[in-house]
């Protein structure tokens, strides 16, 4: 398999997942704000922090009003991690490998992009937003299903999965990080109901609420929620589960020593996390998540080095493909 094709598949997986995740956090935040009293409501700024795009945001907008933040995250093509930009990049990546991915997948991505582009105004309105985002999240899930149901489990498929899963794990940690830091400082007894609401919203942004209730049963508390999202063996968006999935995908690829080494390190690190301490202290949690993110970066780098941009044996200068490698 050509490196370029593998790289395109990897980024296709990442961008589709990113569009879905962004849709999810916008949707859930809107709901959360309706439930919290004005005084302690965190507003929309945390979403900018979650997506790590404060710098670009501040260049274009002066405040963190709902309208601006939603526009930035959903329909602003200047923001490389907005939904519209993610879908546009997903489409560009898919387009060059139309013959590799199932035809229906290409059609789905193409239609989704055109829908998102042509209906962006509806997506920005309070009323139309829910349906708009729901359709995008659905389509992303459909894409996952189509790929699993119509692509041979060859290296190409594994690259698609690895891209998707890494993006997913990354988003899970970002959401935990920002939410726990910015919502309510401590488990103040007087604010307990709202503490619950905020953790419920965290779980919901990761579609984890239902599974949490089924598998944890305990009422939603910070420690249990953290354990579920970081360590659960079975929940598809828990960091640990994601790491296992990446590891399994790598087993299907050649030359996997270095990337697998990085995955093994991450696995160990996740398991060693001290949940009790992180439940107590925001800074402990933040530190831990920082370390995780560095490891995600390492895995990405190893994959790029091993499969996409190998060290060249000959000294001939060659251009690299930068179009697909754009990242937020």
């Amino acid at each position: 398999m050509l490196s370029r094709v593998a790289e395109n598949l990897y980024w296709l997986g990442r961008y589709m997942e990113r569009a879905e995740n962004t849709g999810r956090i916008v949707n859930v935040n809107g709901n959360l704000l309706l439930d919290l009293p004005k005084g302690i409501a965190p507003g929309w700024q945390p979403l900018i922090e979650i997506t790590g795009s404060e710098e670009i945001y501040r260049k274009a907008y002066n405040d963190f009003e709902e309208r601006n933040v939603v526009r930035f995250l959903v329909g602003d093509s200047q923001n490389p991690s907005s939904i519209i930009a993610s879908l546009s990049m997903a489409r560009e990546n898919a387009r060059t490998i139309r013959d590799i991915i199932p035809r229906e997948s290409w059609e789905l991505i193409n239609e989704l992009y055109l829908f998102a582009r042509d209906n962006v105004q509806a997506g920005l309105s309070k009323r139309g937003r829910y349906d708009y985002l729901k359709r995008i999240m659905r389509a992303s899930q459909t894409f996952v299903g189509l790929s699993g149901g119509a692509m041979s489990a060859d290296p190409g498929y594994e690259f698609l999965c690895i891209g998707r899963i890494l993006e997913r794990a990354d988003m899970t940690t970002r959401i935990i990080d920002v939410r726990s830091a910015s919502l309510i400082p401590k488990e103040t007894s007087g604010l307990l109901p709202f503490e619950n609401i905020q953790w419920i919203s965290v779980l919901k942004s990761l579609t984890a609420y239902q599974m949490y209730r089924q598998h944890v049963q305990a009422r939603v508390r910070r420690a249990e929620a953290l354990r579920f999202l970081l360590l659960d063996d079975d929940f598809p968006r828990s960091v640990y589960r994601c790491v296992v999935l990446v590891d399994e995908s790598l087993d299907e690829l050649p030359k996997r020593e270095a990337p697998k080494g990085a995955v093994a390190r991450l696995k160990k690190m996740v398991k060693s996390g001290n949940i009790a301490k992180m439940a107590e202290s925001n800074s402990a949690l933040h530190e831990f998540i920082d370390e995780l993110q560095i490891e995600f970066g390492q895995i990405h780098n190893e994959i790029v080095r091993t499969y996409f941009h190998m060290e060249e044996p000959a000294q001939t200068a060659t251009q690299s493909q930068s179009q697909s490698a754009a990242t937020a």
């Binding site: 050509l2 370029r4 190998m310 001939t316 251009q319």
Partner: protein
């Protein structure tokens, strides 16, 4: 409407299917009888079914527009086929082989001893002004001495029934994928005719192409690594590039996927690491092939590819520089070229051609512009042409100025009234003009496609068949015996 062949107006033209009203050609009897048996709406629902399968199969060509970027258009196909008798085709086939064989000898001679010039059979000044002559190729010995491995020659038939070669495309001719797909579609909609019509198959082309390319491999052992090099998704023929790669089971690569090592071997980057490439079927023009040698600003090509080719470590098809014979002035000399290298008379005639570089011819052309077709020597796709009978005085004057300024760059030919084939036009069947592009493969053996791609000018009276300019296409049936 039911087709009534008695009402079909051939006019004064040569029609490929009908000799005249109500009188089909022998090899078209089955076809015409079948079409006439269809009732009111059947023919149109067949045409609609064909268009739908084209959409579903994703057979497209790409048009680039400023406003919309690149868009894929559904390939235009008229389901009524063009038919030709196998006996006639066999003569054409041998004529094409003869022609391309001689052209390859010519190209090889031009890049080596230039005997044909020394012997006074080909003017040096024509070569001196050829924009497709590549001095970088002088002295290179490509495998088997063949330069133009894939050639697409355009054939036209005049009123009197004579088939002429109109031009030879020796650089990166396209269209063969449409020939193959047209057959797929038409087989689906006319299964009855294929069961007993004696129609010869066309689908062997991808394996013949692969064999043709594989035979060029510099590595003698193992299965050679053949790749198709495309400029990318914005190229109008991208569909064909990816189609052929898929059909041959080869990688479709872009310039960035390949690299050339310091010891002049070509590799492609795969997830397993670098993997050696033996043969590149390149669909990129010469000048974009290698920024080390040709255009430095090319991002489509592969730096060092020419080094590797010259070192004999990789085969390029077609070889760089093969386009030197794909020049409309050189075209005029092809009959002489055939006689010179093969000592045979040409089987297929050229369209009579006036070279504007020759003073007498030029005077004649300038005086008769309104009656002639004038073509620039090195354009393809029908661009830059003047079709005298439908031109305005202003266009003719502009052309006259261009000819006087650069006579070497122009040839003129009498207008050939292309033959016609019944075509579906709105709710009727009317004659429309066609040409034919067969493809000729040359390496250790030669192959000619069975028939080729028939292109049709869908506008009434129009002679312009290029798909980029609104032309359509037809399946081409070579029919054995009494036939379809």
């Amino acid at each position: 409407m039911t087709i009534r062949w008695r009402d079909y107006k051939v006019g004064g033209l040569y029609d490929e299917v009908m000799k005249g009203a109500g009188r089909p050609r022998d090899h078209a009897r089955l076809l015409t009888r079948y079409l006439a048996s269809l009732d009111e709406d059947e023919l149109f629902s067949i045409q609609a079914a064909a268009e739908l399968s084209i959409k579903e199969m994703g057979i497209t060509f790409t048009v680039y527009t400023q406003a919309e970027g690149s868009i894929d258009r559904a390939w235009p196909l008229d389901v009524i086929p063009r038919v030709m008798a196998a006996d006639e085709w066999r003569r054409i086939e041998s004529g094409l082989k003869q022609r391309v064989h001689a052209l390859n000898r010519f190209i090889n001679d031009i890049y080596h001893d230039q005997k044909i010039i020394k012997d006074g059979k080909f003017p040096r000044e024509v070569l001196a002004k050829s924009v497709n002559f590549r001095k970088e190729c002088v002295g290179v010995d490509p495998p088997l001495g063949v330069w133009a491995h894939i050639c697409g020659s355009d054939l036209v038939r005049d009123n009197d029934g004579t088939v002429y070669v109109l031009e030879d495309n020796l650089r990166v001719p396209s269209g063969v994928s449409y020939m193959l797909e047209n057959r797929q579609v038409v087989k689906r909609v006319f299964p009855e005719l294929f069961e007993n019509g004696g129609i010869l198959p066309v689908d062997d082309y991808p394996s013949q192409l692969f064999d043709c390319l594989a035979a060029l491999s510099p590595r003698r052992s193992g299965v050679p690594e053949v790749v198709v090099l495309t400029p990318g998704i914005y190229n109008s023929a991208y569909f064909e590039h990816s189609y052929l790669a898929q059909q041959m089971g080869c990688e479709l690569v872009e310039g960035g996927d390949l690299q050339v090592s310091d010891d002049n071997f070509v590799y492609m980057r795969t997830i397993e690491g670098l993997s050696r490439v033996d043969v590149v079927y390149r669909r990129i023009d010469d000048l974009f092939l290698d920024p080390e040698t040709f255009r430095k600003d090319s991002t489509l090509g592969v730096p060092g590819l020419m080094r590797a080719w010259k070192a004999g470590n990789v085969a390029l098809a077609n070889a760089p520089g093969a386009g030197v014979a794909d020049d409309k002035v050189v075209y005029a000399y092809v009959p002489d070229i055939i006689r010179y290298y093969l000592d045979e008379d040409p089987i297929l005639p050229n369209v009579p051609t006036h070279l504007c570089i020759e003073e007498k011819s030029r005077a004649y052309v300038l005086k008769n512009l309104a009656k002639m077709v004038v073509k620039p020597a090195n354009e393809s796709g029908g661009y830059g042409m003047l079709v005298g009978p439908v031109s305005t005085k202003k266009e003719r004057d502009a052309m006259a100025r261009r000819i006087k300024k650069d006579p070497r760059n122009f040839i003129a030919q009498p207008v050939i009234t292309l033959s016609t084939v019944p075509s579906i036009v709105g709710k009727h069947v009317e004659p429309r003009h066609v040409d034919l592009r067969p493809f000729i493969l040359s390496s250790d053996q030669m192959h000619v496609t069975t028939g080729g791609l028939t292109r049709v000018a869908m506008r009434k009276g129009s002679l312009v068949v290029n798909s980029s300019q609104g032309g359509g296409s037809k399946d081409t049936w070579i029919v054995e015996g009494g036939g379809a």
